[in-house]
């Protein structure tokens, strides 16, 4: 993982042989944490343009062969940001602290997100951290690694790959009876310096989701969506960003969880796969959100299947606070 291979190894086009890329058009995408969702969206563009009929989209990461925090630091400005930046967790800690102070959110409230997601992960055979017996005490007894983030408020570092095959309408019908159709794909980028604006409420998530909802004909996300796979690098992020995505009012992310709305049995289950808190191979992570949303639409979720899924949301997050939102449905959007 020297400096996230494929940036320094770009001449080698690592992994292309296995992709299988020989003599085919291949584009490499590297957009930080949003890599997986940028891959998903560019795959959509490739087919929606009418140029290609069937596209393969692959996200992968070998995160533990180098220092993830060290590599992430090198993705930022060498003069102004790198000397003090503590990888991804430093800014996420700042965001969690500001969110906590603004709305009075407690560490116990955040711990409930880890408990939900890592116990959900026990139903997902692919997930990295599967913890059916996890408790709030387990999370709260872990060390504070960057106030207010405890170790178990944070996502793991995982290794693995995710591959999706897309097809246009004509080809899709030959391949499967249950395609998962894209209804909307939206991206919102931010300033080069993520700290230009107060970032804790993730304005890019609000902007991308509003545009996606409009395209997909979603008037009330809580009511109109059946499941959401959101990108939550920390437990606090899920509380805050369910608000940014419009599932509830600002400050009420915890209430949404406490009332059971985002639990598996609730009105809008969030992260039945276990989310990023359970599995984080960065280049694949956001693509796994799309894969899991598609799994829900295709009724292939097994123990983690939410009943009667017609519309699903998938989210990617990364870089200097970019967000990508994708909506999928069980019928083409007409």
């Amino acid at each position: 993982m020297d400096h996230f291979e494929g940036i320094n190894f770009s001449e080698m086009w690592t992994g292309i042989d296995a992709a299988p890329g020989y003599l085919k058009p291949v584009v490499k995408i590297a957009t930080g944490g949003t890599t997986g969702s940028s891959l998903a969206i560019c795959g959509y563009h490739n087919i929606a343009s009418g140029i290609y009929d069937k596209v393969l989209v692959v996200g992968w990461e070998k995160l533990n062969e180098g220092g993830a925090t060290t590599g992430i630091i090198t993705a930022f400005d060498p003069v102004w940001e790198r000397p003090s930046l503590a990888g991804a967790l430093g800014p996420l800690a700042l965001m969690a602290g500001m969110y906590s102070a603004k709305y009075g959110i407690t560490p116990e409230q955040a711990a409930k997100v880890t408990v939900k997601n890592r116990s959900n992960a026990a139903n997902n055979p692919f997930a990295h951290l599967q913890m059916p017996d996890i408790t709030i005490d387990y999370v709260m007894s872990s060390q504070v690694i960057s106030y207010p983030l405890r170790l178990h408020d944070c996502c793991p570092q995982s290794e693995g790959a995710c591959a999706l095959i897309y097809a246009n309408e004509k080809e899709a019908k030959k391949i499967t009876d249950t395609p998962a159709w894209f209804h909307a794909v939206e991206t919102a980028h931010y300033y080069t310096f993520g700290t230009d604006d107060k970032m804790y409420d993730l304005p890019t998530a609000t902007i991308a989701s509003k545009k996606a909802y409009k395209r997909a004909g979603i008037k009330n996300p809580l009511r109109d969506l059946d499941v959401a796979e959101i990108y939550e690098p920390t437990s606090w992020s899920e509380l805050s960003w369910t608000e940014a995505l419009g599932f509830c009012k600002p400050g009420e992310g915890g209430k949404l969880l406490d009332e059971g709305i985002t639990q598996m049995s609730g009105e809008l289950p969030v992260n039945p796969s276990g989310g990023v808190l359970s599995t984080n191979p960065i280049g694949a992570t956001a693509l796994v959100r799309v894969a899991e949303a598609a799994i829900q639409i295709m009724d292939r979720g097994g123990k983690r299947q939410v009943p009667d899924v017609e519309k699903a949301l998938a989210m990617g997050f990364g870089g200097s606070l970019w967000t990508e939102v994708m909506i999928l449905g069980n019928e083409p959007l007409r």
Partner: protein, 167 residues
């Protein structure tokens, strides 16, 4: 603390070769950043850039206002006081390799998000405090300058102190 992860196989033979890579490189910082460091080094001044169209004051100074797509020059730079207000804080308390030194960055260290007075953008930098109970959003912070200034952001302004200020 109960470990809830899988057992690792410990009797595998590992084939391993060690090697090291040095990657020297140059990095262009732009005309406004050069002016920033000249003013810092020679006059202990902190400079930002002000968009001539929307009036937004940026720190760090940059040549393009992202909101207006207007280009700024050295003449658009304004002085900012070395004081600001803390908007967010944390104490980083885990080991990681610092890519600029190759060694573990000393921890714990205080890290804050604050706006310099007069700036419209926020900035992150070291804060000289490692006890979170002594940090609070809204505290005033002040830049601490090194005695010798060489034209390097963190060497010349190693951290911000939390200060008590009479209103």
């Amino acid at each position: 603390m109960k470990k809830l992860s899988k057992r690792r196989k410990s009797n595998e033979e590992i084939f391993e070769i060690k090697w090291k890579t040095d990657l020297p490189y140059r990095y262009s910082i732009g005309k406004l950043a050069v002016k920033f460091f000249e003013e810092l080094k020679e006059h202990r001044k902190i400079m930002g850039s002000k968009c001539k169209k929307c009036g937004k004051v940026h720190f760090p100074p940059r040549a393009v206002c992202a909101d207006c797509l207007v280009k700024m020059t050295v003449d658009d730079m304004v002085e900012l006081p070395p004081k600001g207000t803390l908007e967010g804080f944390t104490v980083v308390n885990y080991p990681f390799t610092d890519p600029s030194t190759g060694g573990i960055r000393p921890f714990p260290y205080g890290y804050g998000l604050f706006k310099l007075d007069g700036a419209d953008t926020y900035t992150m930098h070291f804060v000289n405090e490692t006890d979170v109970t002594k940090m609070k959003i809204g505290q005033r912070v002040e830049a601490v300058f090194n005695d010798k200034l060489i034209g390097d952001f963190t060497a010349d302004i190693p951290y911000f102190n939390i200060i008590k200020e009479e209103k």
